[in-house]
Amino acid sequence: MKRPVVIPAALLFAVVLILAMVDLAPPALDLRPLVAANLASSGVAHPVTAVLLNYRAYDTLLEIGVLLLALVAILAVSESVPTTSSTSATSSDLLLPMLGRIAAPVMVVVAVYLLSAGTSAPGGAFQAGAVLAAAAVLLHLTGLLPGWRQPGVSLRWGLAGGFLLFVGVGAILLLVEGDLLRYPPDHAGVLIFLIESGLTLSLGLILAGLFLFLSHDKGDVG
């Protein structure tokens, strides 16, 4: 019943959207010169990193909060889902675990590179954390790392640590400099690198957790 209405409506919306986009004038305001002009005092050399961790660092702060929140929500739900007894994956395949053992250390090195490259080239905490998480998922899929149950104390601090560090730096800057996340230009680079390092670790754990907490009861698939 619904389909004959929804499909034409969606098509009509798409056509109107495209037509409206086509005759769009160039934007009234161009922020790029402004981004470039303040780059020197932002503490980093790459404009994207400057936007993410300095100009609009508050957005990034809240987005890390959203990721942590997503993980907490998953933990809250999986609390009530009955879990079967889990044995870590044992693969009869010899090649797969070996490839996992080779790839994971390389991925950690790549993550560290991405983190340090972020100041001057595309990269940074999000990318580095994603590679770390991918390494953890790879280890899990090759049977080397069991799925995660309810997290222990150290894992919980690891998950929340990056965000707490970010909030802490923001709060200290609010007290010292008078504005939330207002970096003094001389120390901006160091502070941003500190925040990004913490975020890399926590984001790696959070993103890995989004996968591993959900897969702990299916560990014996093999």
Binding site: V16, L17, L19, A20, M21, D23, L24, A25, P27, A28, L29, D30, L31, L34, V35, N38, N54, Y55, R56, A57, Y58, D59, L61, L62, E63, G65, V66, L68, L69, A70, V72, A73, L75, A76, V77, E79, S80, Q150, V153, R156, W157, L159, A160, F163, L164, V167, G170, A171, L174, L175, E177, G178, D179, L180, L181, R182, Y183
Partner: protein, 483 residues
């Protein structure tokens, strides 16, 4: 602690992310202490805004359009006040409500903290993209709270809620992208003079998307489908939080956009305001009728929320005058306080009787007089009897409607009040007038911590007594505001 404005966002973020590593079920006392501080901060902010009008803070020291601005005017401070005033008693209630081992309480404190941080951030943000991030914080935390520790049916309700939230935020985000494509900025202050009645089609499209997305998030009829199962199925403190506060956030944002950056469009199209108003009127009628028919007490209260949200949208055609805005905020306060109290009393009744049917409440007034009294007081506000805040809100609304000749709105308000009396008295009749079928039934009431009853009564009494001090609140709303 020099700047209450920014700390209102940082503080809940901090206690939320500290509660998580402290362990499942931990963090209640930290949250209650922090919420006490937040309440003081918001009172300081009220003083600040009263003295110096609109307050603006440039995060990172950059300022819009390069950075993000936070701004507080009378409207946002009023919403912040509502949030903290409800959150503190609710947190004290929740600490007693969740036993140490209850699965639904294990992650309540971190989720609740993120929710409140998102709400405070939303009321203070002056940046369209930043508002999207706060919407995500609020939505995701709310979904997590609904799903936490529940059975299959509750998780299904949470999933439906999640899809509705994602669709709403998705529409909002698409609109933000269109606005950025057209003007190159997402700062509300910069946008306000740029968006005029001659705006390109794409801006009308963006406005429509925002309107639809936020109506979906506020559960305006006919987008209310997700609300009753989500609010009716969650545990009582969560239902109170969602019904009293969360749905108000998207309403506030719609109002803010309507009066702020989109004022150039909405002022020119006078008939546009009748769209939300018509849906609001239908929400009042449909929600009330469903509440009158509901079998389970929490579903009754949830459908009452659908109806009460309708009043908020009746103000849109009348927004040319200030009285309508004041009526809308007064209604948000009245409903927020009363509905939080009502869900809290429902939690007490369900815990005490072990049942959630309206029919099972016979004799409740003898066993739990405080709770039934609190329910009655909250009902007085929802029905709009004097001297409650609900009466003041409806009075203002009718006055604003008559001043502009929109008598149909006045009729809807009056009919809505009668219908509300219908479902409120259904519960009161069961609790006060009917005696249990057998004397053995009275023994099934389980003893409960008195804190639960007192906190519900506190909020219910506040919803009535606010009617006596409503003038101060209404003056606050107009300070340095968009109108």
């Amino acid at each position: 602690m020099t700047d209450p404005l920014v700390w209102l966002i940082l503080l809940p973020l901090t206690w939320a992310s500290l509660a998580f590593p402290s362990g499942p079920g931990r963090g209640a006392w930290l949250a209650i202490a922090a919420l006490g501080v937040q309440l003081m901060l918001v009172l300081l902010l009220v003083v600040d805004v009263t003295e110096s009008g609109i307050l603006v803070r440039a995060v990172g020291g950059w300022g819009a359009p390069l950075g993000i601005d936070l701004a507080a005017d009378g409207l946002s401070v009023a919403m912040l006040l509502l949030t903290q005033v409800i959150a503190l008693p609710l947190a004290i209630y929740a600490r007693s409500y969740f036993s140490a081992t209850a699965p639904e309480g294990k992650y309540f404190w971190p989720l609740c903290g993120f929710l409140l941080a998102g709400l405070n951030g939303l009321y203070l943000s002056a940046d369209l993209f930043n508002l999207y991030v706060t919407l995500e914080l609020v939505g995701l935390a709310a979904v997590g709270l609904v799903a936490a520790g529940g059975g299959a049916r509750q998780i299904a309700a949470a999933l439906r809620y999640l899809f509705a939230m994602l669709l709403g935020s998705g529409a909002y985000l698409l609109a933000v992208a269109l606005i950025y494509a057209a003007y190159g900025t997402v700062s509300m202050k910069t946008l306000a003079p740029l968006i005029t009645a001659e705006a390109p089609v794409v801006i009308w499209l963006a406005g429509g998307l925002m309107l639809a997305g936020l109506m979906l998030k506020t559960a305006l009829f006919p987008f209310h489908f997700w609300l009753p199962p989500a609010h009716g199925g969650a545990s009582a403190p969560v239902s109170a939080l969602l019904s009293a506060l969360v749905v108000k956030a998207s309403f506030y944002l719609l109002l803010r956009l309507w009066l702020g950056p989109f004022a150039g469009l909405t002022a020119g199209a006078g008939l546009l305001g009748w769209l939300p108003a018509t849906l609001g009127a239908l929400a009042i009628l449909w929600g009330s009728c469903q509440a009158i028919r509901a079998q389970r007490i929490k579903m009754l209260i949830a459908y009452s929320t659908v109806a009460q949200l309708g009043y908020l949208f009746l103000i849109f055609p009348l927004l040319t005058g200030e009285a309508a805005l004041r009526a809308g905020i007064m209604q948000a306060f009245a409903h927020g306080l009363a509905k939080a109290a009502m869900f809290m009393t429902a939690g007490v009744l369900i815990k005490a009787t072990g049942q959630d049917r309206v029919d099972s409440l016979a004799g409740a007034a003898q066993q739990l007089p405080l709770t039934m009294f609190a329910f009655g007081l909250a009902g007085v506000t929802l029905t709009g009897l004097p001297p409650s805040a609900g009466f003041l809100a409806k009075w203002q609304l009718i006055e604003a409607a008559m001043a502009q000749g929109a008598w149909i709105i006045a009729v809807v308000v009056l009919v809505g009040g009668l219908l509300a009396a219908g479902y409120v008295f259904r519960v009161l009749r069961q609790g006060f007038l009917l005696v249990p079928a057998t004397s053995a039934d009275t023994s099934v009431f389980h003893p409960l911590p008195r804190t639960l009853e007192w906190m519900a009564l506190l909020l219910a009494a506040a919803s009535v007594l606010l009617g006596l001090r409503g003038v101060e609140l209404m003056e606050l709303v107009s300070l340095g505001g968009a109108v």
